[in-house]
């Protein structure tokens, strides 16, 4: 159990009092990259510092998928159910092929090595969007074999469905981190860990974005910054922030804050009803339950 505070009227519809909190995995160092795989009924996550990609199945437990993982970070699934990974310390975006091999999808922009891809999401078109802050070049225990930054920007990029084209989506961010689409995919939310804010953009038919505006600005002395971020089916936006996971309605208004203990880094909706919230943390992966489902991963 944990506390839910900052409640707005009606928030009980999303989460009740005394929600459950189950430990899925302990003994990891830096949990991240959570994604639920509906095909394999499995939950995937990473330990960035432990340099491992993990798979966990209810009733079975956790097994290592990839180690070392070049300090992999955010993960999602594409339309074929392939795991797509923001490669962070290894500075690439890569995909697990059906035969088990790894295919690099992106490593450079305009001829220069990426900073350190952090989080990633797949659009219904098949395009892959990912953020590229520089933290994987200097965070203690996260770094790979080249620590030099080459790009002037901290970009958000889009890979075309066939992987042939990589375009810059926005360079508005000091430290772009989590990103997710609204349920209808008309909006793209991107957060900034350094400025502690979420911006929202209108997604255009060609996959580009326009009309960026601040959706929410976090503040306060509590520990925690915008990092992992997802939407539920009603368009509410969940984002790690000071003191826990914040829930906003589509206008940005705060509905509740899940004061999950320790240090949540990211989370993913999962299980058959998409009403479980798997939360990665420093040290643990935990799971809680919500009353409405999240946007399903592919």
């Amino acid at each position: 159990m944990y506390e839910v505070d900052m409640r707005a009227p009606g928030s009980e519809r999303i989460i009740g009092d005394n929600p459950p909190l189950d430990v899925i995995k302990e003994g990891i160092i830096f949990g991240e990259g959570p994604v639920w795989d509906k095909r394999r009924k499995s939950f995937f996550f990473v330990d960035i510092i432990g340099d491992t990609i993990w798979k966990w199945q209810p009733g079975v437990g956790a097994e290592v998928v990839l180690k070392p993982s070049a300090h992999a970070n955010g993960m999602t699934l594409d339309h074929e159910g392939r795991l797509v990974v923001a490669g962070w310390g290894g500075r690439t975006v890569f995909r697990f092929e059906k035969d088990g091999s790894l295919k690099t999808l992106a490593a450079r922009y305009e001829g220069r090595k990426l900073n350190s891809p952090n989080d990633i999401v797949v659009h219904s078109s098949g395009s892959i969007y990912f953020t590229d802050p520089p933290g994987g070049l200097f965070n203690v225990g996260h770094t790979g074999d080249d620590l030099q930054r080459y790009l002037e920007i901290q970009g958000v990029y889009r890979l075309s469905p066939d992987g042939s084209e990589m375009t810059l989506v926005t360079a508005d961010f000091v430290y772009p981190n989590g990103l997710c689409f609204s349920p209808d995919e008309k909006l793209l939310y991107i957060n900034c860990s350094r400025e502690r804010l979420i911006r929202v953009y209108d997604v255009q038919p060609d996959g580009s974005v326009k009309n960026g505006r601040v959706f929410f600005q976090y503040s306060g002395p509590e520990r925690g910054n915008p990092d992992g971020m997802k939407c539920d089916v009603e368009g509410n936006v969940y984002c790690t922030g000071p003191g826990g996971i914040w829930v906003h309605d589509p206008s940005g208004k705060v509905l509740a804050r899940l004061r999950i203990p320790h240090h949540p880094t990211n989370f993913a909706f999962g299980d058959d009803d998409w009403r479980s919230l798997y939360v990665t943390q420093l040290g643990w992966v935990m799971r809680t339950r919500l009353n409405i489902p999240g946007v399903a991963s592919w």
Partner: protein, 296 residues
């Protein structure tokens, strides 16, 4: 010969720190700007040697022209390669992340000695790894497969800030002591044993309570120790000292800038002494001495 001082670059944001002469230019760290700058004496201009250095402070040239850096923000010693990339070294000692390295030197065997104190500015990333229960001089050396490994050198330091090797590499000089805390601030000399460990230190110079002590060290051509440090606080003065190897003060200068940080010889025949400052400047002095050229 009269001593002259001139400010040749800066101020930059925050402090300037470590320096390294590459034979033609003086490299120096603008720590908070996360840059290593390059001062060209012929033109008096400054350009970037590296950007995005992760608060690298101390820098030292390796034999092949690459540069090692003490990256305070990332808690490791990094290696700026000649092709523009930056390689990691080893940042674990006995399985634990060391502290925040700040000064370093490369010896003729290619080993990298560095001071690893605590730092008031936290490192990058969520605070996962506690700091070591000691602040020591550590040394990077290659194993038989050329992989870096770390070895602890001092076991009695509290806040090692600057270090230096004698010309014969048989003595390790360490400036130890934290100015913000109680306790001694000393210039120490450790004999280096054949197995690479160090013996009991001698105190070459002890600073009074309230004094800042030494922040930077370099060697002159006669094997004397040039030290910069001090501050104007409490009526004291910033200083440039020259110590004989046994600790006698051969001469002292009061530089025109407060909070001298690090120092290195450069220029024609290494006849110019450069130093950085707490206000983010680069100064050049002529004190009638030349630097020692370590043949790596």
């Amino acid at each position: 010969m009269s001593t002259t001082f001139e400010r040749v670059a800066g101020p930059y944001k925050g402090i300037t720190g470590g320096l390294a002469w590459n034979g033609k230019e003086m490299l120096f760290s603008a720590v908070q700007e996360e840059r290593i700058l390059r001062f060209h004496p012929a033109s008096g201009t400054v350009d970037n040697f590296r950007r995005w250095t992760g608060r690298t402070n101390g820098i030292a040239m390796a034999a092949d022209g690459s540069v090692f850096g003490a990256q305070e923000g990332g808690r490791h010693v990094i290696h700026f390669m000649r092709d523009g990339s930056t390689a990691p070294t080893c940042d674990l000692i006995d399985g634990k992340h060391h502290n925040q390295p700040t000064d370093l030197i490369v010896d003729t065997k290619g080993r990298v000695w560095f001071t690893d104190p605590y730092n008031p500015t936290p490192p990058y990333g969520p605070p996962v790894f506690p700091f070591l229960d000691h602040a020591s001089v550590l040394r990077l050396e290659r194993d038989e497969r050329r992989a870096w490994k770390l070895r602890r050198v001092t076991f009695d330091t509290r806040a090692p800030r600057a270090l230096l090797l004698s010309a014969d590499e048989k003595t390790l000089y360490v400036a130890d002591g934290e100015p913000a805390k109680e306790g001694p601030r000393e210039l120490r000399a450790y004999p280096i044993e054949a197995d690479g460990s160090v013996g009991r230190h001698a105190v070459l110079h002890a600073f009074s309570p309230g004094q800042r002590g030494i922040e930077g060290l370099c060697l002159d051509s006669g094997g004397n120790i040039v030290a910069c440090g001090g501050w104007k606080r409490a009526g004291a003065e910033p200083f440039l000292y020259v110590f004989a190897p046994f600790g006698a003060v051969l001469e002292s200068h009061v530089p025109p800038a407060d909070l001298p940080m690090r120092c290195a010889f450069g220029g024609p025949d290494l006849s110019e002494l450069y130093f950085t400052t707490g206000a983010g400047e680069l100064y050049r002095a002529r004190i009638g001495r030349k630097g020692y050229q370590r043949s790596a």
